[in-house]
């Protein structure tokens, strides 16, 4: 709360009532120095004094705390536009003073829809109970909590859409990775075509040749996947397990493409690759 604004507001309200600092101080049983201190913004009244102070100055408690006059509102319809003091702060300050916290009604806006469950739990701990929506006429006996979780539902819907989309795209993504593995291998191993042809020429059959190069590539891919997974576990913490799984899946798909390319490359005509003439 802005101390200067608050001080100025007290001074203006007091002067409007035609009171001196001393008169005001006497009415609420504090020293005139304290009043002077508040008005100069050097201090803030004790929370117990707020109510009598507001009464003396002829302003509402809300106005006093906001530090400005407000328009009249019909209390039956109008809800204060903002939560003026954070809920936990109010509760804490009440607890400090040993006063049981009581509110007849309150409204909250959750800044993060994902905190909805935590919020509900907190309310339950406070003694609120869920009410069946079929209770006629919304008349509830006892303490009730009405949660308007439209925002939460919207967020959840959106989240589900995103997940569905990703899920639908996943096979294509994997297929794409197979393609990438194929292309990359084809390009990378272009320079080793001679080596392949030579191994074939010496009499290593295509399957054994494939094994030699596959192990070579496998080492590369496993190194990549392990490094990537470790990194993602380190960065993402909780979700690390999932990213490791995804990494493994990507690795397998890459290897599939890789194998296709390898097999194709090993089909090279040995004479064509090794003969100078052609």
């Amino acid at each position: 709360m802005d101390n200067i604004k608050f001080g100025r507001f007290i001074r203006e309200s007091r002067q409007a009532k035609g009171m001196t600092q001393k008169q005001l101080a006497e009415k609420i049983h504090v020293s005139d120095k304290a009043v002077s201190k508040w008005e100069n913004g050097a201090g803030f009244p004790d929370i117990k004094i707020l109510e009598p102070l507001a009464a003396c100055l002829g302003v509402s408690l809300l106005e006093l705390m906001q530090g400005e006059k407000m328009g009249k509102w019909d209390e039956r319809f109008v809800v204060p536009p903002d939560v003026i003091v954070p809920f936990h702060a109010v509760r804490a300050s009440y607890a400090e003073e040993g006063i049981p916290f009581f509110a007849s009604s309150a409204s909250f806006v959750l800044s993060d829809a994902l905190c909805m469950n935590a919020f509900k739990q907190e309310m339950k701990d406070l003694g609120f109970r869920s009410a069946a929506p079929t209770v006629p006429n919304n008349s509830l006996n006892g303490v009730a909590l009405h949660v308007n979780d439209a925002a939460f539902i919207r967020t959840a819907e959106h989240l589900r859409q995103v997940i569905d989309t990703v899920r639908a795209f996943f096979p294509f993504l994997l297929l794409l990775i197979v393609g990438v593995g194929y292309l990359v291998t084809l390009l990378l191993l272009q320079s080793r075509k001679n080596e392949m042809a030579l191994l074939r020429s010496i009499g290593l059959n295509r399957r054994k040749c494939f094994r030699v190069f596959f192990v070579d590539q496998l080492t590369l891919v496993i190194t990549g996947v392990v490094a990537g997974s470790v990194l993602s576990v380190l960065i993402q913490g909780n979700y690390g397990g999932n990213s490791a799984l995804a990494g493994g899946l990507v690795g397998i798909c890459y290897l599939a493409g890789n194998s296709l390319a390898l097999w194709k490359l090993l089909g090279v005509s040995v004479m064509e690759a090794l003969s100078v003439e052609s």
Partner: protein, 223 residues
């Protein structure tokens, strides 16, 4: 004794624009312990015919017999590993392996014990006339002649009977050429290998026992 025989062998392939008949109805026979040359212009089908003899490609028509057995019925990879080895113009040694390791490679493919393979490789490198210091050298550190000797040692390492050489002296100067041709001749006449060399070089052809000429895929015996 006849070791390799081609009967009405033909081979054609589809190039980008046309069907190429690289080998047409070729029949010939090669005997054990003889040194052969196949000569002919570029594109006359020599290399293709050699690749058929090596089992690298399958003929489209006709049959190649190895000691009476059709090559098409054999495991052609095993045939190359055990009986027929190919030597290339550009040597084609594995650049990251030493001379000795290059020669040991086919032995390791045959699952020979390492110690035995080392012994064999050293013996073969000595046989092709290389000093023992070359054993530990990498191909880049050797001269062309030395590299081709290592390639020949590798070809005979697996204990085959047939050496197929595609322009083995094409990248060598005349001194090294003579040495390599002399080595191949020795391998044929003294060690009993059947050596078939493709060459453009008349001097090389003159050293051989028999010469075949290829033209437009057809073959005729010259000598």
């Amino acid at each position: 004794m006849e070791i390799l025989r081609a009967e009405h062998v033909s081979y054609s392939y589809q190039s980008k624009y046309q069907k190429v008949e690289a080998v047409r109805d070729v029949s010939c026979a090669f005997e054990k312990g003889k040194f052969y040359a196949i000569v002919g212009e570029s594109g006359s089908g020599k290399s293709t015919f050699l690749s058929l003899l090596a089992g690298l490609d399958q003929p489209c028509g006709g049959t190649i017999y190895v000691e009476g057995e059709p090559l098409s019925d054999m495991d052609r990879d095993a045939y190359r590993l055990n009986r027929a080895a190919v030597v290339y113009q550009a040597f084609h040694l594995f650049p990251l392996l030493t001379a000795q390791e290059n020669v040991m490679l086919p032995l390791e493919f045959k699952k020979m014990h390492k110690k035995e393979a080392v012994r064999q490789a050293k013996r073969l490198l000595q046989r092709v006339g290389l000093e023992s210091r070359v054993c530990r050298q990498f191909p880049k550190m050797m001269s062309g002649g030395e590299q081709q000797r290592v390639a020949i040692a590798r070809a005979v390492a697996a204990g085959g009977e047939i050496i197929l050489a595609d322009e083995p002296t094409g990248n060598l100067d005349s001194g090294n050429e003579e040495n390599v041709v002399a080595l191949l001749k020795e391998l044929a006449h003294e060690d009993g290998y059947t050596v078939i060399v493709i060459t453009h070089n008349k001097r090389v052809a003159d050293e051989t026992d028999h010469v075949f000429r290829m033209k437009d895929g057809r073959m005729e015996q010259v000598r």
